[in-house]
Amino acid sequence: MTAVALMTARLLRRAWAGLVALLVLVVLFELVNPLVAQSLGGPEGLEPFLRALPPAFRAIAQVAPDNIVRAGLAGYLALGFTHPLYLTLASVALIGFVARALAGEMERGTIQLALARPISRSRVYAARVCGMVLVALALAAAGPLGMIAGLGFTELRDVIVYDRFVPTATAGLLLFWAIGGLTLLGAAAADTTGRAIAFATGVLVISYFVDYFAELWDVLEPVAPFSLFAYYDPFLALTRGELPVQNVLTLLLVGLAGTLGGLVVFARRDLPS
């Protein structure tokens, strides 16, 4: 096993309990969604429910209300991937892991275990990137798998096109990659876990509310493209199986810029004493 793989495995092992708990919560949250849809009467019963949703709640879906109604069950289920609870659980898992793996290890001095050996900073950093990608993959898969499992418990299982969970998971992965990249940048520059988490959470919360309020108030529309969530569209993925190229490229580039920026910062910085 190479040093990078060894370090990645160690980071995941250390964070294992917390990550598994959050992944289980993500799975359970998405598993419940089809059950709720069935309790509301399936595709037919959802329409009056969706029409009754207040605008502030419909803004969470980032989709025009009529479109949600027209999309029926898939439109309703897509709400599960833009719901603040889902995004919070996934972000806590990802940001917490990355912040502890880099800033946390610098804060505790644990990173010296590797850096006192013939291992370059770029390899130490690469282990954190690998860990981040694996956590992002697990989170991106957990939601759709939970929802598929939930559908299995209902009579709605034949109403949905399962292939569309692939682009839905991909949309999630791209969002998590971007969040992970920005968190790596913050963690590379920070001396403590707290500062890294504060930076990443700050960026994410601002990004979320820019997108949310731009959906509610037309005057904020010009700033919407500055939000990560403007490029995250699980509704389109789950209802039509589409993943816009612009969204893919933007999130890929944001994640890449954050990751490379973090590498440059980490390679040049002093370790905290």
């Binding site: 060894l6 644990t110 850096l115 040049r268 002093d270």
Partner: protein, 318 residues
């Protein structure tokens, strides 16, 4: 083995390390001394590539520690702070993990565990449950286990009981005899005196002395206690390098700077009932360097230290 040229490190306004020149030859135990905040740890962090020098450079086996850190650390063992270990790992798992990262077999692990009395029972427990002393032992095993050519140890015996400290000193001597180089900082001056051949003394981020332990102690003052057969001769105060510290009846306590021969020649001309000459200890030297309570941190303190060094180096006790 280790070479530093003009090595400096500034943290904002604070000059933690100033213009350090150091040459540590292979095959010796080298002490790196100084009070808290003197710049020892900063120098060690520069050697390990943990911080980037603000000026100057350091090299290990010819490899620059910042630009070519991987090669500089290729055959190095470093004593990590005891709290740096993963608390969820067992001692065994931690040592295995570090051996794999080092890329060298843990040839010295069994001998180190035996010498430091760290048994299988302890190694099977999570490190989070270790005492400070056990973590320090584990850190020592981790640093030594792959038998590196150079060991950099920051306060290696901190938290160890006296018996283990002595066992550790034996290990250092054994490794030195096998050609290994040990660069260590310590507050335990008696330990440094017992184990180190050469020492560097830093203060205020600056090097203020660098020589063999024997040379350093030799140039410090000694205390001579003389009991004359009759009243002490009045011209005793005229003897070069000698100052009377205490005079009670026929008994005189003298401070002898550097050279004792003028005193011995003087005493040979008189009837002496008793004579004792205490050798200066490294602690005396250390106190001579730092005993004036001057500021220790930063460039200003360092400048003061350099000025003070002229006096201390000449053997004056202040």
């Amino acid at each position: 083995m280790i070479q530093a040229r003009g090595l400096s490190k500034r943290y904002g306004e604070v000059l933690a390390l100033a213009d350090l020149d150091l040459d540590v030859p292979a095959g010796i135990v080298y002490g790196f001394l100084g009070p808290n905040g003197a710049g020892k740890t900063t120098a060690i962090r520069c050697l390990l590539g943990f911080v980037k020098p603000s000026a100057g450079s350091a090299a290990i086996l010819g490899h620059d520690t910042w630009r070519d850190g991987v090669n500089a650390r290729r055959d190095l063992g470093y004593l990590v702070p005891p709290d740096a270990f993963y608390p969820d790992m067992t001692g065994h798992a931690q040592l295995d993990y570090l051996a794999r990262l080092s890329g060298k077999p843990p040839a010295l692990r069994a001998a180190m565990l035996d010498a430091l009395e760290l048994g299988d029972d302890a190694l099977g427990r999570r490190i989070g449950a270790y005492s400070k002393g056990m973590k320090q032992k584990l850190a020592l095993v981790a640093a030594f286990q792959h038998d590196p050519a150079l060991l950099i140890l920051d306060e290696p015996t901190d938290g160890l009981d006296p018996l283990i400290q002595r066992a550790f000193e034996d290990i250092l001597r054994e490794l030195r005899d096998r050609g290994r180089t040990i660069f260590m900082s310590s507050h335990d001056l008696a330990e440094v005196e017992r184990t180190c051949e050469r020492v560097a003394v830093v203060r205020g981020g600056r090097l203020i002395a660098e020589e063999t332990v024997a040379g350093l102690t030799r140039r410090n003052r000694r205390i001579a206690r003389v009991v004359f057969a009759a009243d002490p001769p009045p011209d005793l105060v005229l003897v070069p390098h000698v100052a009377v510290v205490e005079h009670v009846g026929r008994r005189v306590e003298l401070a002898v700077e550097r050279d004792v021969n003028p005193l011995l020649r003087f005493l040979a001309q008189h009837e002496v009932a008793e004579l004792s000459l205490s050798p200066p200890s490294l602690e005396d030297v250390f106190l001579a360097f730092y005993g004036d309570g001057a500021a220790e941190d930063g460039a200003d303190g360092g400048a003061a230290a350099v000025a003070a060094n002229g006096r201390a180096g000449a053997g004056s006790r202040r």
